[in-house]
Symmetry: C2
Subunit: 228 residues, 2 copies
DNA sequence: TTTATTAGTGTTAAAATTTCACTTCTAAAA
DNA sequence: TTTTAGAAGTGAAATTTTAACACTAATAAA
């Protein structure tokens, strides 16, 4: 550790991997750049860290700028620092991934960015190292979804068991057994079963559930650990 | 994303959580600062990122500067960015943790830093947010040790089963059943049993094993996943 | 030759996970 | 009014995994 004066100062960016879910598929929100470098290509939404904010705040600001949303689930992923990752200027990027309710966001999307939702498996090639970021984010999301109740962030407040299962199948990219899934979820005892039914998906209709966050937090305090 | 010219440039540091193992306890290597700020207090070894290197390289350089070692297992942990984390100047730090063979390092420790090994449970309070970094590193190490064969990085090339078990007990901070542990390790089939015995620990002597990295890599290619 | 000490070795019970198929309900069609 | 089509909802049995557990072997030192 040497003195502070002689050190290189460097641009710090945050890039956001924004996940959504549309009843069927896991999606990411990308923007079409109309600025240099790489104008016209698809990329993650990003922005530079300012002197008076921390990285979480910067990520929140960047996400809000595009989606209009606040209080969104975000988690720092990691830093990307290849010397030539940005051809314009040396930039370190810290990636964050966000989980949002795609429907809510849709309405408020900032049109300045020509943003578009892509099915996670059909996303275009991205600039710089953004493909790597997305892959790393997917891996993190998969792991996290098994140990924290973050899936609910991607669903509307009220959802059916089937929707929840479909979501997990999309995240984990594998089919799950219906009975086992429901049994596991119910064993966790963190959902609130409403009286309402969703009649859109079937003749019979299926009950709507809500994530009971208060109950969950109480259980966590008592040593409970979410585990799917 | 705005233009690059108007953005704030910021100091970027790397800090290293250096883990070692001394036959019995998990340790971390700390330095006593003889420079400002916080002169005289204990801290992690750190340094600033230079324009022409990436974070991995910076972490390697910083580690080497203190220990004289290269080709050490290191993994990026995460970034720490509280606005006032460093009272001297706005600095973002990216933490790395390293696993080294404490014995090897001991000889080559750079004396300029008044470095000292501390039992992980007896470490002093550290400057800035370094305590948080250490805690986060411990959590990561625990998780990683269960899914990757990184424990061997902390041991000499040849080690006894008992040593390996003691290491895992130190990392996980819990007692393990001897027979179950050995059965699990043997089931993985990634160790090479040598003809040699370590006679220091008992009358009977115990066989020395080596991690068979070639075999491990081959198995990984065929879909094998380390899981303790 | 005895003793003291750690190394080394498998089985059994319990818990967790996986597999699997039929009935219920209701709207729409006949 | 009755039939039909299609998803919702429900639990037991088999398998796999994990956890608990105690004695013999080997050797150096006494």
């Amino acid at each position: 550790m040497e003195n502070y004066q002689d050190q290189d100062k460097i641009l710090l960016a945050v890039d956001c991997i924004i996940f959504g879910f549309d009843k069927k598929n896991l999606k990411i929100l990308l923007i079409k750049r109309d600025f240099e470098p790489e104008r016209g290509r698809w990329s993650l939404m990003g922005g530079f860290l300012k002197k008076d904010e921390n990285l979480d705040e910067a990520a929140d600001r960047v996400l809000n700028h595009l989606t209009g949303l606040h209080d969104v689930y975000m988690e720092q992923l990691r830093s990307y620092s290849a010397v030539d990752r940005d051809p314009m200027e040396r930039t370190i990027s810290v990636a964050y991934y966000a989980l949002i309710n795609a429907n809510e966001a849709e309405a408020e999307l900032n049109e300045d960015f020509s943003a578009k939702w892509f099915n996670i498996h059909e996303a275009p090639n991205l600039i710089f190292d953004h493909n790597t970021m997305v892959n790393n984010a997917m891996a993190r999301l998969r792991r996290r979804a098994l140990t924290k109740p973050i899936g609910f962030e991607l669903l509307p407040k009220k959802f059916t068991m089937k929707q929840l299962q479909t979501l997990y199948e999309a995240i984990l990219d594998e089919k799950l057994d219906k009975r086992n899934f429901i049994n596991k979820i119910n064993a966790l005892d963190i959902l609130l079963k409403t009286e309402e039914k969703d009649m859109k998906s079937s003749r019979k209709g299926s009950f709507l559930y809500m994530f009971d966050e208060v109950k969950y937090n109480k259980k966590v305090k008592e040593g409970f650990a979410f585990k799917l």
